[in-house]
Amino acid sequence: MDFISILSIFVMACFVGYYVVWSVTPALHTPLMAVTNAISSVIIVGALVASAAGALGGSATSKWLGLVAVALASVNIFGGFAVTARMLAMYKKKDRPAAK
């Protein structure tokens, strides 16, 4: 992809992000932060490329840095989605009266 097509994706995604995030209900702003945290760990893609490249005879340092980054991003991905799921499971409607 050339720079201009990447830039177009980026700019469009910023607009999508703007409208999508304004539609998030304020009650869910903490889960929003937790889930954005998890998805920003998509940077693991870069980390995987670096770790896998070790076999190609590339730099060994690069490979180990990649592996550490894979581990860090995994903490975030698994932790982020799990904690979001845990929070979202708590939001309940009034359907079950607690004290009757």
């Binding site: 999508v16 980054a69 904690v83």
Partner: protein, 493 residues
């Protein structure tokens, strides 16, 4: 040597799909009912991105073999050691992540999010360094194989700078939120000049990064770590919600910058989403405190509670003290009670007792509503999570704009652990530091019950509150949790 592993054109497609999944994940958060499905979309998108990368960049080497001259094919040998190492890294990281996510207390959510931000930042830095050391693997080497594309260099420079700022900034934010480091702003002399100079230096270095000067890359990294640290230390505890949102935004931009380097649409889309999300949250937080983003960044506002209280001698004004029995009686007689919880409620862990009180009142036919200020708690939406954890149904919880007009028709406003967000000075007193901040009109309610530890303490902003001295206000001086429990007991009689 092998040819540079360029991104397979077909791999673009799954990355795009995973980008769309992430958009749907955020879209789901528009209501609690659709949010759980949204989260599943997020997980699916992430799984897709990871699997795609593992397939297109499988650890191993491909070789063109031609046993018979006319018949050639590619043989791919998997490098199992690398594969196991990668799997190990994912399992170790994922294990730590899941255990932390299960164990963490909901009150500690701001620290956790700050800690997670720091990991994204650090991962971005490591990936940028890895790409710098092994550009061939990332397909960012010029065709002659001698140098990294100039545009890629600038993107990488930005990636490492934003990543490093996110990392060191989040570490400081974590330490402050966790209480390891005092919430008081730390003011260095001449910090504005130091900060601006450092930022200018980073930008210049990123601009110069196309020159192949060794050391430039590391200089950017070190300066960026420093600026992240310098930017956050002067910011006080009360402004932390803005800081956490801002770092959320940075972690997104870091991912986007690396997406530009790797020409990866999933990373770019995600980066843009997360970046705008954090920016919007910072804006909402600033608006809710009536402070400009610049003044928050400049720092120095709001230390630990009561820090700013000393000095000015206030004239003694009369106020009424109530007991748990009085409060129980007033609320049982009411038609509608609006509860205004603040961070003090979370500190006292009173949310479960509070919900119990709400249940008793509802059983007696009283309408109970919760009013949440955007800056209640230590991060956006924090109070909503705490109430949800205590099993408060989300349709009883209201935002500032939706409920503020109802106080005039409300019998009892029950304020627990909040102070600045109910201070009428924000509307009337132009000299007040919180002037202009949107507040709850609790003074319009027939009766105000105000739980507070003591009369001495003031809110984060360090201002006195006229609501204390109103004729219709009853102060309940005690630990929030104990007081609510006593009220519940008194109601049972």
């Amino acid at each position: 040597m092998h040819e540079a592993v360029a991104v397979n054109p077909w791999a673009m497609l799954p990355y795009l799909v995973s980008g769309i999944c992430f958009i749907l994940a955020l879209r789901g958060l528009s209501s609690p009912a659709s949010s759980r499905n949204g989260n599943r979309f997020g997980m699916a998108g992430m799984a897709l991105a990871i699997v795609t990368t593992l397939i297109t960049h499988a650890p191993g080497s491909s070789q063109r073999v031609c046993p018979i001259a006319a018949d050639c094919w590619t043989v791919f040998t998997v490098d199992w050691i690398s594969a196991i190492e990668i799997a190990g890294a994912i399992i170790i990281g994922g294990g730590i992540g899941i255990v932390t996510a299960r164990r963490i207390a909901m009150t500690a959510m701001p620290q956790l999010v700050a800690a997670f931000h720091s990991l994204v930042g650090l991962a971005a830095v490591l990936v940028a360094i890895a790409a710098y050391l092994n550009p061939q693997a990332f397909g960012i080497l010029q065709p002659d194989g001698r140098d990294i594309f100039q545009s890629s260099r600038i993107e990488m420079g930005l990636g490492i700078a934003i990543g490093a700022i996110t990392f060191s900034g989040s570490v400081i934010a974590f330490l402050k939120l966790n209480g390891t480091m005092g919430g008081k702003p730390i003011m260095l002399p001449g910090r504005h000049i130091i900060n601006l100079a450092t930022i200018a230096a980073i930008l210049i270095l990123v601009g110069l990064f196309h020159l192949d000067t060794p050391g430039l890359f590391w200089a950017i990294a070190i300066l960026s770590f420093a600026i992240g640290f310098l930017l956050i230390i002067p910011i006080g505890g009360a402004d932390m919600p803005v800081v956490v949102s801002m770092l959320n935004s940075y972690s997104g931009w870091a991912a986007a910058a690396m997406g530009f380097t790797l020409h990866n649409s999933a990373m770019i889309i995600t980066g843009a989403l997360v970046g705008s999300s954090g920016a919007i949250l910072s804006y909402i937080m600033c608006r809710a405190m009536n402070r400009s983003f610049i003044s928050v960044i400049a720092g120095g506002f709001g230390g630990d509670s009561g820090g700013a209280a000393g000095g000015e001698a206030k004239e003694q004004r009369p106020w009424k003290r109530g007991s748990a029995e009085d409060a129980a009686f007033l609320m049982s007689q009411a038609e509608q009670v609006i509860i205004v919880p603040g961070y003090g409620m979370a500190v006292a862990q009173a949310q479960h007792a509070l919900r119990e009180m709400g249940d008793v009142l509802k059983a007696q036919g009283v309408t109970v509503k919760y009013a949440i200020h955007p800056v209640a708690g230590r991060m956006p939406g924090h109070m909503n999570v705490l109430l949800a954890e205590a099993n408060v149904p989300y349709d009883e919880v209201f935002e500032l704009e939706d409920i503020n007009s109802e106080f005039a028709q409300t019998d009892v406003a029950f304020i627990i652990g909040a102070n600045d967000v109910v201070n009428p000075a924000a509307k009337t007193d132009k000299s007040s530091p919180i002037y202009g901040m949107p507040v709850f009109d609790v003074n319009k309610a027939k009766t105000v019950l105000f739980i507070k530890r003591s009369m001495g303490g003031v809110g984060y902003a360090g201002v006195d509150n006229d609501v204390f001295y109103q004729d219709n206000t009853m102060m309940l001086l005690a630990d929030a949790k104990k007081m609510v429990e006593e009220i519940v007991k008194a109601m049972a009689h």
